[in-house]
Symmetry: C2
Subunit: 330 residues, 2 copies
């Protein structure tokens, strides 16, 4: 078996034309049962399968979806990638995973994906700057979608979790617990606006008459930077001004915050300071953290995204309701 068999080869073996072979492999095509059987036997014998590349060139449909990820430090990405790949595969699509970083930027990735004729592009990360996406060269490429953050671009639909509602649910829980000096730990400053969590957190406390929310900010969305940010902020602050509640923009930051507060400051959580995260990352349930957090309905969000991409749902942003996960840290 030196070379792959083509429809032509199978046709010859089955004594029909190559178009009949194609028909045998086309679900709804009109073909006699007899021809179909002969073709299938010959195909089996020659180990033939249609070349999807050639099909894509002819149909202008690759059945490939590009997923752009820019933050592999966030453990939450992994279960979502599992969900994405699996749901797409169930629909006969394959996921092309593209790593965005300082050396391979969005523009390059989008152009690359465009050249490969992917059917759709999903932006799944925090650092996509709207200006980039409006690059003229990108017009006319595959349709784009944003997952789990705001789009900030009218034409590009976003599939998100209801962040204001999330912060309200979290906030009401915090209020009931009696916390009075809230602080918010955000990731990379310039990017946080897209998630809208910080804004929603502020909005909630303002609505409760609490004007002052302390803002901390980490250099990126990693545990290490969460750790460093909390240290840096608390070191220079008189202890009596320390917050009694630290809401972190995601679980990764919260893990770092907990590590610092517990291991270095030797404080009790939540008695001395309460800490909450966002994402319900796998490890957040572990007794080592037992983190109070908020879960985005990722399976549902991915399903929504897929129906939009398949054209079964309107091409417009969709907001889903998440779920408060109460554990022991807040």
């Amino acid at each position: 078996m030196t070379k792959k068999a083509t429809a032509e080869d199978v046709a010859q073996a089955a004594g029909v034309s190559k178009w009949t072979v194609i028909r045998a492999f086309t679900p709804g095509a009109s073909i006699s049962e007899k021809s179909r059987k002969r073709v299938m036997e010959a195909a089996e014998h020659h180990n033939y399968r249609p070349n999807l590349l050639a099909r894509s060139l002819a149909t202008n449909l690759t059945r490939q979806i590009a997923v752009l990820v820019d933050d592999f430090k966030n453990p939450h990405k992994l279960p979502v990638l599992e969900e994405l790949t699996w749901q797409f595969q169930s629909e006969g699509r394959l996921v092309v995973l593209i790593n965005i970083n300082e050396h391979f930027d969005h523009v390059q990735a989008l152009l690359d994906a465009g050249q490969r004729q992917v059917d759709a592009i999903i932006l799944f990360g925090t650092g996509f700057r709207p200006e980039m996406l409006e690059d003229v060269r990108l017009k006319g490429g595959a349709p784009m979608y944003v997952l789990a953050r705001d789009s900030q671009i009218p034409d590009i639909p976003a599939v998100t979790c209801d962040t204001p509602l999330a912060m309200q649910e979290l906030g009401e829980h915090f209020r009931a617990k009696g916390y009075e000096r809230p602080a918010f730990l955000s990731g990379a400053k310039t990017l946080s606006t897209a998630l809208g969590r910080q804004r929603a957190f502020h909005t909630f406390w303002q609505s409760q008459g609490t004007a002052r929310v302390l803002d901390l900010s980490a250099a990126s969305y990693s545990s290490e930077h969460g750790f460093a940010a909390v240290r840096q902020a608390l070191e220079v602050m008189p202890r009596e001004q320390w917050p009694d509640l630290l809401m972190c923009e995601n679980d990764a930051l919260a893990f770092g915050a907990i590590d610092y507060v517990r291991s270095i400051l030797n404080l009790r959580i939540p008695d001395d300071i309460a800490i909450a995260g966002f994402d319900n990352t796998p490890l957040s349930a572990s007794p080592a953290y037992d983190l109070t957090t908020y879960e985005q309905p990722m399976a549902e969000m991915v399903a929504t995204l897929i129906s939009m991409i398949l054209g079964d749902a309107p091409q417009e942003s969709k907001v889903s309701k998440g779920r408060l996960i109460l554990r022991s840290t807040a």
Copy 2:
């Protein structure tokens, strides 16, 4: 810009033939500076970029690599995926991420990948059964490679970490610490052989005259199952027979083991029982675990894999040396 421009369109605009356009976009092609400039201007104006799909059909090279992953529960996958995608992108390749599970098995995935004409297939997971890979229908497809576990198939090269050496380094450390009742916690029983860690662990202790190594086994490679496996084993065992050292097949299992031992049994680690993992997962460095573990040189292994795939290195299995990471749990 309703439709994408083709080489033909650009040719017309530049007043040359489409082959000249192609040449302008082919690195080493012979073309006059003048034509080249005119073509590039027209291309810029028409927002033209070569269609990689058509190129692939003509060259029989997609520059796409399929990566088959079957264990998204292991947090170690994420940094490796980052490394894989990034290194491949640096070489102008893109990664197609394929999720293997009970509904979408290896055979289906391999056939699918084969139909899409990917240039190579990387098996990156624990559960690949050799029988499956020897399926006749798979012959003649893209070349396959195995990452971070044994291949068990002669034709398929594997890129691995030196497991016997790893277990020796770990073992010598354990011996120096004075542990005498070693146990090994493996993941899914049928799959563990491929990693060879359990075998290497036994071999080491046998060489030290310690005949008895207790074997525990979890249902899968997740923290939850690690937790459950340790509970199940220790519950039915008199306390004086408990191991004083638990080597876990990977960090995920170790996290679960630590959670159980510390939170439920209220034992001290490593005084009452020492625990070690494998992989040096991001969170293993956190103070919440501070796990002694062993790091596979993934960046190097991925680089090796890529040079094999690109044909710069011989198509044969390669073993790299890892690194012992000493922390506080053992």
